[in-house]
């Protein structure tokens, strides 16, 4: 605000001085030259009349000659002062207008408006750096889940484009150098309601910059950074970035799981799908030789995992150095039939097209399917514009970089407990995953579950506290029962994880005790989420669920009961 006022004042100096000079000289002249009144007597125009006339003249309004028609001398004088006055006025107005159009002025205005909007935020928000496809997906999802977002993006036109969208128009956003410290501070780095910062630009080095800046300035704030190069990833983890998200590694791990343990993969997929979407029944990938086209960053991660899963594969790559040293590898692009035949497409059971070019990948898929219609196809999609094309290609699995990043970011940002659970799931043996899917299947209706966390503190702990006052201990099953119905109806949800301090219980038993401060991870239908929140915040609900009795509500009654002995 201050900046704008000072800028305006500086700019307006010259025009204002011009106006004052011209005005005062004109008024002086008007006063000195004698006029005449209606009868023709010579009078001198007073200061007020002179000032009035000159002001009306200057603003080019022009009412008329006062007090009566002007003498010749007066008219001559007015003729002389007319042009300077009007020009001085237009000069002032022009300066003010040009100030509003001035880019420097406007950027100052935008910056101060952004800072003020961020300061006024009183709900938890995330700072999202980079508003490409990934960034905008993340912001939409955050808004949908009830979080606020603050956006920093390098390109000005993307920021302007936000105004066109209904949802994004109210998100505070600023264009500029995203890794700049002062910009990050304006975006709310030190704000008490900031829940974390997400570095999602497509330049790994910028993300690294952001991560370092935030970790230095505010070590306790969670930082989620996107990185697609192993060197940058190692760098980021070395100074304690909370989550480094490498879409290629994530996809490769999922693929590995799919090959090595389809049961676990199914459980993982169910828990990480978009809530409410149809649950997919995934087929186990066929055993046999696979073809791997393209050994770049993506392909090499996939190759590592395929080796780990002991899946035989043949590499096809256009770079000689990548092909050298691998037995049976074929040098070529994979888009021509010749290369594919040489690699053995007719005997292969599947092909993974992971070159860096979408058109190449699509071409590989089509050519390969031509040669071997029963091939399983895994495709990598780099650019979001090609969504329809990849859908039409009927590939079994499409690895969409932005989607992978966005989903993982949202997962760790909004439900961090889920990540611990998924890691546990992957490490455990298959029976755990089997149990989990069996229980999930019974409560879900073929739709992917919603995942939510419940932290038993504050408002949500009132039910627990009230029950404890009455000497009743609340267990998990009381929470999972439908408190508002009379008959004992189980809510359609499942408790995945209970975290108390440093200890974690996975798939806790219904008889497990609940204490204040516990963190619970649930998966289930969204209706269950509301019911649980209600029964936690309503004082009598848990008590009634546990004991079947109605809890005395008033303090007086309680005192009476206690004094008369239970």
């Amino acid at each position: 605000m201050n900046d704008i006022v000072w800028l305006t004042m500086r700019r307006m100096r010259r025009p204002l001085i011009t106006i004052i000079l011209v005005f005062s000289v004109s008024v002086l002249g008007m006063v000195l030259i004698p006029g005449h009144d209606a009868q023709g007597n010579a009078i001198s125009v007073g200061y007020l009349d002179a000032a009035y006339f000159i002001a009306i003249l200057e603003t080019s309004i022009g009412f008329g000659e006062i007090p009566a028609g002007f003498t010749g001398a007066q008219r001559l004088y007015v003729l002389i002062i007319l042009l300077p006055n009007v020009v001085a006025w237009l000069y002032s107005i022009g300066t003010i207008l040009s100030l509003f159009i001035d880019p420097q002025f406007r950027s100052v205005v935008e910056r101060s408006r952004f800072t003020r909007r961020v300061k006024d935020l009183h709900e938890g928000f995330f700072i999202v750096c980079g508003l490409g496809h990934t960034g905008s997906m993340v912001v939409h999802a955050l808004l949908h889940r009830g979080y606020r977002a603050v956006v920093l993006e390098q390109r000005q036109d993307i920021i302007y484009g936000m105004l066109l969208s209904d949802e994004l128009a109210s998100v505070p956003a600023l264009a500029g150098d995203v890794s700049n410290r002062s910009l990050l501070e304006r975006a709310g780095l030190n704000h008490e309601k900031c829940l974390g910062i997400m570095a999602l630009t497509n330049d790994d080095h910028v993300n690294l910059n952001i991560a370092i800046t935030c970790k230095l300035l505010r070590p306790g704030l969670p930082v989620l950074a996107r990185s697609e190069t192993p060197r940058v990833t190692a760098n980021m983890t070395s100074f304690g970035t909370d989550y480094v998200i490498d879409p290629f590694a994530i996809f490769a791990q999922a693929l590995f799981l799919d090959f090595s343990s389809p049961v676990k993969y199914r459980a993982l997929d169910w828990l990480t799908s978009v809530p409410g979407s149809d649950l997919r029944e995934l087929l186990q990938p066929p055993a046999g030789r696979w073809l791997l086209c393209g050994l770049g960053r993506f392909g090499s991660r996939v190759a590592e995992r395929l080796d780990e899963a002991a899946v035989p594969y043949t590499v096809i790559d256009v770079h000689a150095d990548r092909v050298r040293g691998r037995t049976g590898a074929v040098r070529g692009r994979g888009t021509e039939a010749q290369t594919l035949i040489e690699a053995g497409v007719s005997e292969a059971v599947g092909i993974i097209a992971c070159t860096g070019d979408d058109v190449d990948n699509l071409s590989i898929i089509m050519t390969a399917r031509d040669l071997n219609p029963g091939l399983s196809v895994v495709a990598r999609q780099e650019r979001n514009e090609n969504d329809l094309l990849f859908n039409a290609s009927k590939a079994n699995v499409v690895a969409r970089r932005s989607v992978i990043i966005a989903r993982r970011v949202l997962l760790v940002a909004t439900t961090p407990l889920l990540e611990s659970f998924l890691q546990h799931l992957i490490r455990q043996d298959e029976s755990f995953a089997q149990r989990l899917t069996a229980r999930l299947q019974s409560i879900l209706n073929g739709k992917a579950p919603a995942i939510w966390t419940v932290h038993l503190e504050g408002r949500l702990a009132t039910g627990l506290a009230e029950a404890k006052l009455e000497g009743v201990s609340i267990q998990l099953m009381h929470l999972l029962h439908h408190s508002r119905e009379d008959e004992q109806q189980h809510l359609p949800c499942l408790c995945l994880l209970l975290e108390r301090g440093a200890s974690r219980t996975f798939l806790p038993e219904p008889g497990h005790d609940l204490h204040a401060g516990d963190r619970l991870l649930f998966a289930g239908r969204e209706s269950a989420q509301d019911e649980i929140a209600w029964s936690l915040s309503e004082p009598g609900a848990l008590f009634g669920s546990a004991t079947g009795r109605i809890m005395p509500a008033g303090a007086l009654w309680r005192w009476l009961r206690r004094s008369s002995g239970k």
């Binding site: 000072w6 204002l16 001085i17 000079l21 005005f23 005062s24 007073g46 200061y47």
Partner: protein
């Protein structure tokens, strides 16, 4: 020789001197006060204020403040005089003129402070 500084100091000192001339006339004989004098003092005072815009230092802020005080006093004096002359039946009495004179005296003091600050700044730079 910096033209901007010459203009700056010129207008500040001019504002003080014209104001002083007007006030001195009023001290001696109130009926000798001419509106031109007040008009000139007001105009130059406004110009001096505008020149002081845009200086973000502490000294610049105080100088701007003193200029604004002088402007305020002179504007009120002009309004009082104008009101008495055009809007009342009695016209301009010596009481009104005394009021105008005293207001211009207040503006004189503010201009004096402004000039003192200017002198102080100049001397400290010359060191």
């Amino acid at each position: 020789m910096n033209l901007e500084k010459v203009v700056f100091a010129f207008f500040i000192v001019l504002a003080l001197t014209i104001n002083f001339g007007f006030f001195l006339g009023g001290m001696n004989d109130v009926s000798s006060l001419q509106p031109v004098g007040l008009g000139a003092a007001l105009a130059v005072s406004l110009i001096a204020t505008i020149i002081k815009f845009g200086d973000r230092s502490q000294l610049g802020a105080v100088m701007l403040a003193t200029s604004l005080v002088a402007d305020l006093q002179l504007v009120i004096a002009a309004l009082v005089w104008g009101y008495a002359a055009y809007a009342t039946e009695l016209g301009v009495t010596s009481q009104v003129l005394f009021g105008v004179s005293s207001l211009s005296g207040g503006a004189l003091l503010a201009n004096l402070v402004s000039v003192t600050l200017l002198v102080g700044e100049t001397l400290s730079i010359r060191r």
